[in-house]
């Protein structure tokens, strides 16, 4: 049987690995050697679970969306990651990584951020632990995501502007990597999604897998089965999706649906639908699908949601796509915005625009009455209010 988990070399099928400059080799080696030993230790698990419970607010509810279910004549559940401390699933990963960093004796944390959610989640765990924090953020994102910049500063983090390239997420990631190259000994780099060199994709997926495992347990109580028929999530880098899918990867009865941002339309030239527009290549140390020119220059994606606006997807997702294990659907800006408003008005939950993309599949796929559909409600929409306001002229 095919296995959709990572193999011992750090690959998902053809994708993954660690294509990194020699300068990063010791850091990556250290992680590769230690990440499972540490994260599988009782000690780590205890601290991780305690913080997820007492600080993050886990388990997050599995909420049966009654009115939405009635409207679409099927059973729809929302996994409420929007209720996590700081407002999205991102903090599951940063909690895991900060404990790991402490155990590795690191004294300084760096991170990249696009929309600012991962930056806030990182700044938060650094404040919690009293560890210095530097967050790289594209110059353009700094100006368009002012509230999250303010949150990071409130939390005591330094926000450094990435002024190279397209001055957005991809360049912030480059800058973070450069910082790490310059500070290999005392610094840990907290990547924000299931991207980057091995072991990051696997490590982040494991930290996020709490989403899927909780879902199984909760579903068993609510539906007397721990198997949904569909698990659906938006994919930027892919961490919230990986977290929900994790326990179901090799269970072929469960349909996996990845929702990408089509931006202004897949063929508009302004899109982030990597599975359609991307080709195989290497980005940020990982072999995966990415948007690039024929010449291998990485191109700038576009989506109304800053969190989906990354030119690659994680290697796990590249493999889900290539193997046909996952269904990939792309949703454009207008549909996503419409669904953000819809979910707000039908269930009283204002989703992050990233998350809104996922819900739009309700009008792109057919479901049966008895289907049990789990949506990962990956984040809340507070950070996106300005965008919603301007879009709908509220």
């Amino acid at each position: 049987m095919e296995n959709f988990n990572i193999n011992k070399d750090g690959f998902y099928g053809d994708f993954g690995g660690a294509f990194i400059p020699e300068m990063l080799q010791p850091n990556i080696d250290e992680l590769q050697k230690n990440y499972l030993k540490i994260t599988e230790s009782t000690d780590f698990k205890k601290e991780f679970n305690k913080l997820l419970t007492d600080y993050v607010g886990r388990p997050t509810p599995l909420y049966f969306a009654k009115r939405l279910s009635n409207k679409y004549k099927t059973k729809i559940y929302l996994k409420r990651e929007d209720l996590c401390h700081t407002g999205a699933h991102k903090i599951n990963n940063t909690i895991g990584q900060i404990i790991l960093a402490k155990k590795l004796g690191k004294k300084r944390i760096i991170a990249e951020t696009g929309a600012g959610q991962h930056g806030v989640a990182t700044a938060t765990v650094c404040a919690l632990m009293g560890i210095e924090c530097v967050v790289y953020m594209g110059e353009i994102d700094i100006s368009r995501q002012a509230p999250n910049v303010a949150r990071m500063k409130m939390l005591g983090a330094k926000v450094r502007s990435a002024t190279s390239g397209s001055r957005t997420l991809k360049d912030a990631t480059n800058e973070a990597i450069r910082d790490w190259i310059a500070n290999p000994i005392d610094t840990h780099y907290i990547i924000g999604s299931v991207v980057g060199p091995h072991p990051y994709p696997d490590m982040v997926a494991r930290f996020q897998s709490v989403i899927g495992y909780e879902t199984k347990k909760q579903l068993l109580e609510m539906e007397q089965t721990d198997k949904p028929t569909h698990v659906i999530a938006c994919v930027g880098g892919g961490s919230n999706a990986a977290g929900l899918f994790y326990p179901f990867l090799n269970d072929l009865d469960v349909e996996i649906v990845c929702v990408e941002a089509a931006g202004k339309g897949v063929n508009s030239g302004e899109s982030a639908a990597t599975s359609i527009l991307g080709t195989e290549g290497i980005i940020h140390g990982s072999k995966t699908l990415l948007m690039q020119t024929q010449d291998g220059q990485i191109t700038e994606p576009y989506s109304i949601s800053a969190g989906l606006d990354y030119p690659g997807i994680g290697p796990m997702h590249a493999n889900l796509f290539k193997s046909n294990r996952g269904k990939f659907i792309s949703i454009d800006d207008d549909d996503a915005m419409k669904w953000g408003l819809m979910l707000s008005q039908i269930e009283g939950i204002i989703p992050a625009i990233e998350t809104s993309h996922a819900f739009a599949v309700l009008e792109k796929m057919d479901f049966n009455r008895d289907d049990i559909i789990i949506f990962n409600c990956s984040g809340r929409g507070d950070k996106d209010l300005d965008t919603y306001i301007n879009y709908f002229k509220l």
């Binding site: 690995g17 660690a18 294509f19 990194i20 400059p21 020699e22 300068m23 080799q25 010791p26 190279s164 390239g165 991809k170 360049d171 480059n174 990597i177 450069r178 190259i181 310059a182 500070n183 290999p184 000994i185 080709t279 290549g281 290497i282 980005i283 940020h284 140390g285 690039q292 024929q294 010449d295 291998g296 220059q297 990485i298 191109t299």
Partner: protein, 254 residues
């Protein structure tokens, strides 16, 4: 014998200059090579520009960005290099990130390197293990040397491995840092240079990153076969033009 191995056999205090192809002007490649040849440098590294040069500092980043904006492509570089061996006999390597090479096709890339007279490759984000597994046969087929980097953090075990798979020289990165010129080396760096020298590797060493003046060049030569200069040269020609190459080189070597 490959020109690279030759130069290390015959020369000492080797100066290898890096520049980004397509910068400052799209068609400066051969012009710069001619200037470098005239200035008596011993080796040239041609940078293939990449959108996301994550091991490089601001100077090389910026030059890559401009080169790409100017329209530089892999194909165009090879076209420009068709005239390479008519103008210089010194070893020339291409330094490029892995993704553009992969998209071009690794084998096709190597073939064209061979055809235009390139002597070797430096691919900073191609780890030696993957090279060993998937690509060594190809570079060997086309007689291209492959050079790998080591840093102050690289373990001895790994250095020996890198030494085993490198052919030509080992690129000794001077510090924890991305590219960019500095004024001097500190004692930790000197200790590191000494430590590596004691390892008696089979490949000669070139020190790179942070070299940009006579002082650092001299020190590098003391602890290795020579030095690689990138950012400082790019800054110089950006400010003073390609024609001033000779001035830069003589200031470094004095």
């Amino acid at each position: 014998m490959n020109r690279i191995n030759q130069v290390f056999k015959n020369s000492k205090d080797i100066l290898s200059i890096y520049f980004t192809s397509g910068f400052p002007k799209l068609d400066d490649t051969l012009e710069i090579i001619k200037e470098l040849d005239n200035s008596n440098v011993q080796m040239i590294e041609i940078g293939l520009p990449f959108s996301d040069p994550l091991a490089d500092g601001p100077t090389i980043q910026k030059s890559s960005e401009i080169a790409l904006k100017n329209g530089m492509t892999t194909d165009l570089l090879f076209k420009q290099l068709n005239g390479l061996r008519a103008i210089t006999d010194i070893p020339v390597v291409i330094m490029g990130y892995f993704n553009p090479i992969l998209q071009y096709g690794f084998e096709k890339f190597c073939r064209r390197c061979k055809n235009v007279g390139i002597d070797g490759l430096i691919v900073p984000d191609l780890p030696v293990e993957i090279y060993q597994k998937d690509y060594i046969k190809i570079t060997e087929k086309f007689g291209l040397n492959m050079m790998f980097l080591i840093t102050p953090q690289t373990s001895n075990e790994r250095i020996y491995k890198i030494d085993k798979f490198s052919n030509g020289f080992i690129y000794m990165v001077s510090s924890y840092s991305v590219t960019g010129a500095k004024n001097s080396f500190d004692e930790y760096q000197i200790d590191y240079f000494k430590r590596i020298n004691k390892m008696k590797l089979s490949n000669p060493l070139l020190i790179g990153f942070g070299i940009g003046n006579n002082n650092t060049y001299k020190t590098a030569c003391k602890y290795s076969s020579g030095a690689i200069i990138g950012s400082a040269f790019i800054k110089h020609i950006k400010r003073n033009g390609v024609k001033s190459t000779k001035d830069f080189i003589s200031e470094i070597t004095e």
